[in-house]
């Protein structure tokens, strides 16, 4: 009964293990990152010096980083649109028909079970071997492209694979939301003479607004951190043409340069950009949801 007088004591005891690992492996790295970003810490010298904002000034003129950032933005835009549109289409198609729900759901979700590194390498085989075969033997000349070697086409390749991996997850969320839409509402609209298209846009879509917010938020957030797909498919190449921000930071820190301080400064810039964009997205979609 002693603890009853001081609820905070037992609270701290129950939270202690979680707090400990959380502080050491998440909070401390996040906070100390701000400090490291202001130093010339690297993997070679034992000591490091405070260098003020010079890392950030260098970032401003670092065209490789901004190219990677620009590539990431293009990637995020493409994956958010493509993955969400396809996932919603699939979800609506599956939910609109009584037969085969479980079957299609199982298949479409399967790529999400496999790591994108494994999936990426499987697609690598498709892009470097199978498509050429189809182009030569099945007279599908449009497939005869340098899918991995030419940045113009490897962007398409990357989106193809990333969407393949993400659609199932989003589709499950959309399906759950669609199941929550009362059938009476749709039946009523149908009696009023609305066609399927109108029913979807005016009745169903507003009711699944919450799922749209979640899915856009998720694809936006994971898009900004994209690493595995690109690592497996192009490795950021040719040259640095398909580097994402995460790949650029990884290479700066762990490949060749080992400039930890500078790479940390880059990761701070990435964080601020992601934070800004997710805040804007949440504000917009919250506003939309309320309007509806």
């Amino acid at each position: 009964m002693k603890n009853k007088k001081n609820p905070n004591r037992s609270l701290l005891i129950f939270c202690a293990p979680a707090l400990l690992v959380y502080k050491i492996f998440k909070l401390y790295p996040a906070v100390s990152g701000i400090f490291y970003a202001l130093t010339d810490w690297n993997g070679i010298n034992k000591t490091y010096h405070f260098v003020g904002f010079s890392n950030f000034i260098e970032i401003c003129g670092d065209s490789y980083f901004w190219n990677a950032m620009w590539f990431t933005l293009k990637y995020v835009l493409a994956i958010v649109v493509v993955a969400n549109v396809v996932a919603l289409l699939l979800a609506v198609a599956i939910e609109s028909r009584p037969k085969g729900k479980g079957f299609f759901r199982t298949i479409f979700y399967m790529p999400n079970m496999i790591s994108m590194v494994i999936g990426g390498y499987m697609w690598m085989f498709i892009f470097t071997k199978v498509l050429y075969y189809m182009a030569d033997n099945w007279n599908m000349k449009f497939l005869d492209k340098s899918w991995i070697g030419n940045p113009k086409y490897s962007f398409v390749a990357i989106i193809t694979v990333a969407a393949w991996g993400a659609v199932g997850y989003l589709m499950i969320i959309y399906m759950a939301a669609l199941q929550g839409v009362p059938t009476e509402l749709k039946a009523a609209a149908s009696l009023d003479g609305a066609n399927a298209w109108k029913i979807f846009w005016n009745v169903t879509f507003p009711l699944i607004g919450h799922a749209v917010t979640i899915c856009v938020f998720w694809s936006l957030n994971s898009g900004f951190q994209v690493f595995d797909v690109i690592y497996a498919l192009t490795g950021g190449g040719p040259g640095r043409a398909t580097q994402s921000a995460a790949i650029n930071i990884y290479e700066e820190a762990f490949k060749g340069n080992i400039r930890y301080g500078y790479a940390t400064a880059k990761s701070m810039v990435l964080f601020l950009i992601v934070l800004l964009i997710t805040m804007i997205q949440l504000r917009i979609s919250k506003g939309k949801e309320e309007e509806l």
Binding site: P29, L90, A245
Partner: protein
Amino acid sequence: MKKKQLISNCLVYSFLFIGALYTLFPLFMALMNSLKTNGELLTNVMSLPQQLHAENYTRTFEKMKYFRSLGNTVLLAGVSVTLIILFSALAGWKLCRTKTKLSRFLFGLFVFSMLIPFSSIMIPLYKVTLVLHMKNSLFGLSLVYAGLGVSMAIFLYHGFVKGIPIELEESAGIDGSSSLQTFFYIIMPLLKPITTTICITNVLWVWNDFLLPLIIISNNKKYTLLLSTNTLFGQYSSDWTAILSALILAAIPVIIFYAVFQKQILKGIAEGAVKG
């Protein structure tokens, strides 16, 4: 009217079938070609194998030290997820049941960091693991996963506990001063539905995570399945039968997991996402 219905059915199902084919295509091509000889594969990637060349598999089995990598991955995912569930259930339940300023502050502290992307803490985190001598330690890596995973899990537990009437706990004789024992015997069973969800989402996360082990683990005795597949890919970049059989071997455990727990997985994913 009937005819129209028929046409629309045809359209919807052909759309779904094309989608399904597209989804399974890389998996199927990898499986089919992994059973050929390299010569056969290079002549025709679309043909069925004339003979099943299972020796590709025995070869890669050795090369990627399959059982060792699999064991490492199972250990890593098992320990990480146990820690996440244990730590978060304790904290999440208590945070929800305690109504003080401190509890609100701690909950906020856990939740706010969910916005920080992993790539932003990756380098300082690497430094922490160096200082704590955790480089190449699978147990150390599972502690890291626990640290990164508790936020989301606490958030989910917190939300779930809110929906459990407190009378249930009171009638069981627990009040604010509950001990650990009563927690495990009475609270944990009540939390089972959300525990399943958290367990599934986290097993999949740790199992399929690549970047963190790539940074922390460099000793090949400690390689996870993904790391050994990745290394093999680098070493045998033109030996496609070796690579494809390695990819199939790496995918098999999750496919089995999916086949067995499909219902729970799909339910857990939807719930985890909507509440998160």
